[in-house]
């Protein structure tokens, strides 16, 4: 169990002149027992950051502390961590039993019988006790994933590192394993770093999310903070599926003029915005309402492009009727509501759900209203949010 401090860490790959900055001056504190999820687009440096914690890469600048020790000069061997890899990285020549014992044999002085006891009990916990004599090649994807987890757990390390551990599984298994990892981490209380680019995992697993883009830290906070109180346009667009809809426009005299429609800014909004000119309005698909007729000035006519029925809900892709471009935005509607393509409707954007971003920097200027206290209380402590629980 350990606290992890990442202090002004930068990682550059390649030679001096044409180097790639994979991680750019990131600082982060992770509490003992906390479950932190790294998210970000491909190439944003998630893996690199985690691998530096593991000791598999050496940072170019900055310090990494695990527990009370600066581990900069330690190899992975000395850091007492366990890692779960995307492709499991099970040793193909060893049985499950051997795979799970390997770490203990290598890094502890435990007697063989002690090791066996530990492995057996972990295997039972993971429901793979009956597979102990099989080789990885004989297991299904889900079973392999369980073994990989078990191999990490049995070592009882200071820190778990997991790099997209579920991405090779199919949807059903992924859901199952997700809950399992969550439960395990709760039970074991081991500090855990977890990389994913799956929305659901990001939202449901971690105590806190760390959002990265181009190697830079975008936001650190609970999943709901990131969802409801995005620090900038990037986070707003990245968290949530389908993505938040953005409308670029220019604020002039209390109205935001977008492509095809104008939107009256509420007083609260005008306060937040101040003198900014170029803005982006953000609204989540589930917050837009589609009506048969215009309900107020903030409604505008849209043409339905595609309807994707998902069962209980449908995603409706709409095009603003008067706009010049072909862009569409998404609206979530009830699954049984009959909407057909090319139909004309009126979209309504409720002022309380609107986010506003600086058109140039993407910085958040205005946040939506919230019924509960998720956002307001959390937003302030965003950077240093403790191990708050994932539920409300």
């Amino acid at each position: 169990m350990a606290r992890i401090t990442i202090d002004d860490v930068t990682k550059r790959f390649g030679g001096d002149n044409n180097s790639v900055v994979a991680v750019d001056d990131v600082s982060l504190e992770i509490d003992d027992g906390e479950f932190v999820v790294f998210v970000g687009p491909s190439g944003s440096g998630k893996s690199t950051l985690m691998r530096m914690v593991a000791g598999l890469e050496t940072q170019t600048e900055g310090d990494i502390t695990i527990g009370d020790t600066v581990v900069n000069q330690f190899g992975p061997r000395a850091r007492d961590i366990a890692m779960v890899f995307q492709n499991y990285a099970l040793y193909p020549n060893m049985t499950v039993q051997e795979n799970m014992s390997f770490g203990l044999k290598m890094s502890t002085n435990m007697s063989a019988s002690e090791i066996e006891r530990n492995v057996t009990s972990t295997a039972e916990m993971m429901g793979i006790a009956n597979l102990l004599d099989n080789k990885p090649g004989e297991l299904s994807g889900g079973q392999q994933q369980r073994v990989a987890l078990g191999r990490a757990i049995v070592r009882d390390p200071n820190v778990f590192l997991m790099d997209e551990p579920l991405s090779n599984l199919d949807a059903k298994l992924r859901t199952e394993m997700r809950t399992e990892i969550n439960r395990l981490q709760n039970d074991l209380g081991v500090t855990t770093l977890y990389v994913t680019h799956d929305q659901t995992e990001a939202m449901t697993m971690g105590d806190r999310l760390v959002v990265l883009n181009y190697g830079e830290l975008q936001q650190v906070g609970t999943p709901l903070e990131c969802f409801y109180r995005p620090a900038n346009r990037f986070v707003a667009g990245f968290i949530g599926s389908p993505s938040m809809n953005f409308f670029a426009g220019t604020a002039r005299g209390g109205t935001l003029q977008c492509d095809g429609f104008g939107y009256d800014l509420s007083e609260r909004m005008q306060e937040s915005v101040g003198s900014y000119g170029d803005l982006e309005l953000g609204i989540r698909p589930e917050d837009v309402a589609l009506h048969d007729e215009a309900v107020d000035r903030n409604s505008f006519e849209v043409v339905i492009d595609v309807v994707e029925p998902m069962g209980s809900i449908s995603y409706v892709y709409c095009r603003v009727a008067d706009q010049e471009s072909e862009d569409t935005f998404v609206v979530e509607v009830g699954g049984q509501r009959p909407i057909s393509e090319e139909q004309t409707l009126y979209a309504h954007i409720p002022p309380e759900d609107v986010h506003l971003f600086d058109g140039a920097t993407g910085e958040t200027l205005h946040q939506r209203k919230l019924d509960s206290d998720i956002g307001t209380s959390a937003a302030g402590q965003s950077q240093n949010a403790g191990a708050s629980s994932g539920t409300l």
Partner: protein
């Protein structure tokens, strides 16, 4: 937190850097040592070939000497050497082509189709390599005389094929095992016949394996001596035999021998450099390759 950050941090980094440097120094020290072990005899060979006759074995050695291409000029003025060298190049190259033509399709079939007793078939194929040439040269002499293959280039090409066939089949079977079957299926769906799928899709994908096995086959055939000795007379004499001619029963022409040996290394080195980049991927014997 900020108190003891900068100083120890940078010094630790320094230590880590030095550790990595030490690893790298040790690595290159070992590699350079072996390079020396490899190069020294080759250097000596080269220097013998570049010294005037009679100076080849002088001790203490003239580490510095005025190199002369005299020996090479001599060598290439001997029409027999040029003929034998050309002979060998043609025969060995032809044999490599032929052994690939025979071995690669067979390896493909062994990899893709259910062959009864596949293991035994593979061991049988390998067994063609188990008898010392000396024990099989007489029967081949018979066959060759009766089929009028004696002292023909075709005969030697066939002989070289027999030396290398097992290797080609083994290496290529393993290589084909690593090529996804969907590739051929895609080709068949695209309208290719099975053969077209093999030729246009699978074969090009097997390039690393083919090049690797080609160079190794080339070397094995290039340095072959015994069959060349017994199965040729004048028309199809390989260069190895000619190299032997500098070893008289009375005296050895050291400089010429060295020059000829060096000349023999050159085609292999050229070939090696050409296919160098494929070698890493070509011989991994069915261990699935990283992309």
């Amino acid at each position: 937190m900020a108190t003891t950050k900068a100083e120890p941090g940078s010094s630790q980094r320094f230590e880590k850097d030095t550790r990595e440097k030490i690893v790298s120094v040790v690595r290159h020290a070992i590699l350079l040592t072996w390079s020396f072990v490899v190069l020294f005899p080759l250097y000596w060979l080269a220097s013998m070939s570049l010294k005037p006759p009679g100076q080849a074995n002088t001790l203490p050695p003239d580490w510095v000497f005025l190199p002369t291409v005299y020996n090479y000029l001599q060598l290439f003025q001997r029409s027999k050497f040029v003929t034998a060298f050309g002979n060998s190049l043609i025969m060995v190259a032809a044999s490599v082509v032929l052994v690939l033509l025979i071995g690669v399709p067979a390896a493909y079939v062994l990899s893709r189709y259910d062959i009864p007793m596949e293991r035994d078939v593979l061991v049988w194929i390998l067994s063609s390599r188990m008898l010392p040439p000396i024990a099989v040269v007489l029967p081949f002499f018979f066959i060759f005389r009766n089929l009028n293959l004696f002292d023909t280039r075709i005969g030697m090409v066939l002989m070289y094929v027999s030396i290398n066939l097992s290797l080609v089949v083994w290496v290529m079977k393993a290589f084909f095992d690593g090529i996804p079957v969907t590739l051929e299926e895609a080709a068949r769906v695209d309208g290719a016949t099975r053969f077209q799928g093999f030729r246009k899709v699978v074969l090009p994908a097997a390039k690393p394996g083919i090049y690797s096995v080609a160079i190794i086959s080339f070397i094995f055939a290039w340095i072959e001596l015994l069959f060349g000795l017994v199965l040729t007379n004048s028309k199809a004499v390989p260069v190895t035999l000619y190299v032997y001619s500098f070893i008289g029963s009375r005296s050895i022409e050291w400089s010429m021998l060295a020059a000829a040996s060096m000349a023999m290394i050159i085609p292999v080195a050229v070939f090696l450099i050409l296919v160098n980049k494929y070698l890493a991927a070509g011989l991994s014997f069915g261990v699935v390759l990283k992309e």
